[in-house]
């Protein structure tokens, strides 16, 4: 499924990133298509969240490019790896990010959390801020929870509030870091539908990092599976589901044995359990 580059909002070109000796991403090239829901999947520690941090410019790649294209096709693009503080903040105003546990400001109420980006970045009147905040909260079904504090709401609600906050400034790109982790089945279904619905009604581009196969395959237009710092498979959910790559096969079928092993590397069983083995 090759796309013309101008159809994509974000592009990674031969990008490598690592901590010290350990390479998390090794020459990854991928593109996030405009207006679509793209899912980044893979085993834990496989660099999925790192991709989000790289897109947001919180990490910088050691090698390769990370391009954020302009709002319209053909407009200037920004290499997030080379951006100065000013350019970084300009680029970030076009993004919203939903953190794993919401990352709501614990000293502010639900209303003030959603109002925060509006108050920081605009000079809108309090009446207008109120209307926008209530509209965003209504979109996630939490208009009635506006006066609660983050400590008083459940994990699923906190993530929905964080979503309202992430879309408060009408971003082009919304990134979801593990939006389904630790949710009960009802909240999980709600969250998945909400992501799809907001993407389509607001004309967003969405990137989801997730482990949850069922829900993610259900709502994604494009699935990218990362393994060992490289792309193991990408394409539509159906294409990925029927991939013959052994690693992808193991992942999408949740098999205990395959290229990703259950056992942490160790000495042989015989050596460890034989008489006289040391600690």
């Amino acid at each position: 499924m090759a796309e013309h580059p101008s159809d994509s909002l974000v592009e990674l070109q031969d990008l490598s990133f690592g901590y010290g000796e350990r390479l998390i991403l090794d020459g990854v090239t991928l593109s996030i298509p405009r207006g679509k829901v793209t899912a980044l999947m893979g085993a834990s520690g496989g660099g999925k969240t790192t991709v989000l941090r790289l897109i947001g410019g919180q990490y910088r790649a050691q090698k390769g490019k990370l391009l954020l294209h302009g709002a319209q096709q053909g407009q200037d693009m920004q290499d997030m790896g080379l951006a100065n503080a000013q350019q970084l903040y300009t680029a970030r105003r076009r993004m919203g990010m939903l953190f794993q546990f919401g990352a709501l400001f614990t000293d502010l109420s639900v209303f003030d959390n959603v109002a925060f980006p509006l108050r920081e970045h605009t000079n809108l009147s309090p009446a207008l801020v109120r209307d926008i905040v209530l509209m965003k909260l209504n979109a996630v079904g939490l208009r009635g929870a506006r006066d609660l504090m983050p400590a008083e709401i459940s994990g699923g609600m906190a993530r929905r509030v964080a979503l309202a906050r992430a879309i408060a400034l009408d971003p082009e790109l919304v990134m979801y870091d593990e939006p389904f982790a630790g949710l009960d089945p009802i909240s999980l279904g709600t969250a998945a539908r909400l992501i799809r619905q907001l993407n389509d009604t607001m004309g967003l581009t969405s990137v989801i990092v997730s482990h949850d196969l069922e829900e993610t395959f259900h709502i994604a237009d494009k699935v990218i599976i990362l393994a060992n710092g490289k792309i193991a498979a990408q394409g539509t959910p159906d294409e990925v589901r029927h991939s013959t790559d052994p690693l992808v096969h193991q992942f999408v079928n949740a098999l205990p044995e395959g290229p990703v092993r259950f056992h942490y590397p160790a000495a042989s069983v015989d050596a460890d359990f034989s008489a006289g083995a040391g600690r």
Binding site: T90, R92, A103, P117, E120, H121
Partner: protein, 260 residues
């Protein structure tokens, strides 16, 4: 592994130097944030209110007890030389020049400083600072700066409260309990305390301590490992480092003030 390699020493020195440079840069950014603070005074006002409220009770109670003790101990010493009417002067000078700024800074580090460190550390652990960065809001400007300047402003005010309450405590013990003449207690104090040399230097000290304590508290929180243990360690370090810094700075400042 019982001996250090030369490379370990080099690494330790280099990482200490890097930490120092990082701290200095953060301090510079906080000083430069004065513009943001002028543009949005409400944020600083809230912090002064918050920290002032937090610390006022402990400062006032400590102040009155220190005043009581100064009254008793001062009388014990002065009456040997037959100059117990100078008690007012002794109490006032001790508090305004030395004990007010220093004890206030130590108590402030324990009360408000630890809560600043814990607050910033928990915000970091909960990814709130990351979230703010992703919203294109600089956490140093939005979160750290108002707290920094709030503490710098609150410190001299709290020190003034401490000294005032302490002097009242000295008066209670000296005049009401021991029976020193009230007129000489107050007039000796009025005559002997210089506005610039004594009160001014005391205020200067507490402003310097305000910079030091709030910076250390914020740095420890901002640099904390984003885990429960990390925040706990950072909070402890705030008390230890801030207390030692205050006492060390106090000696340096006093020495400089004597030489002027």
């Amino acid at each position: 592994m019982s001996w250090y390699h030369p490379a370990d020493v080099g690494l330790a020195v280099r990482s200490k130097l890097a930490d120092l440079g990082y701290s200095a840069r953060l301090f510079g950014r906080l000083l430069a944030s004065v513009g943001t603070v002028v543009r949005r005074p409400g944020l600083v006002r809230d912090q002064i209110h918050f920290m002032g409220n937090y610390s006022l009770a402990i400062i006032a109670v400590s102040g009155i007890f220190v005043g009581f003790v100064l009254g008793l101990q001062g009388y014990y010493t002065l009456q040997r030389y037959g100059s117990s009417e100078a008690l007012g002067l002794l109490v006032a000078l001790s508090l305004v020049r030395e004990l007010g700024p220093v004890i206030t800074a130590l108590l402030f580090a324990g009360r408000a400083g630890t809560s600043l460190t814990a607050e910033i550390g928990l915000m970091k652990a909960g990814e709130q600072l990351s979230a703010m960065e992703m919203m294109a809001v600089d956490p140093v400007q939005r979160i750290l700066a108002p707290r920094f300047w709030g503490a710098v402003i609150a410190m001299p005010l709290l020190a003034a409260v401490f000294s005032a309450v302490g002097i009242l405590g000295g008066w209670v013990v000296g005049v009401l309990m021991i029976g020193i003449d009230a007129g000489s207690f107050w007039s000796q104090m009025q005559g002997g305390v210089d506005v610039w040399l004594d009160v001014g230097n005391g205020v200067l000290k507490s402003v310097v301590f305000g910079f030091a304590v709030s910076f250390i508290a914020l740095l420890q929180g901002y640099e904390a490992q984003p885990t429960p243990e990390g925040v706990a360690h950072a909070t402890t370090r705030t008390v230890v480092v801030a207390s030692l810094t205050v006492l060390g700075l106090d000696f340096v400042l006093t020495a400089m003030m004597f030489s002027i």
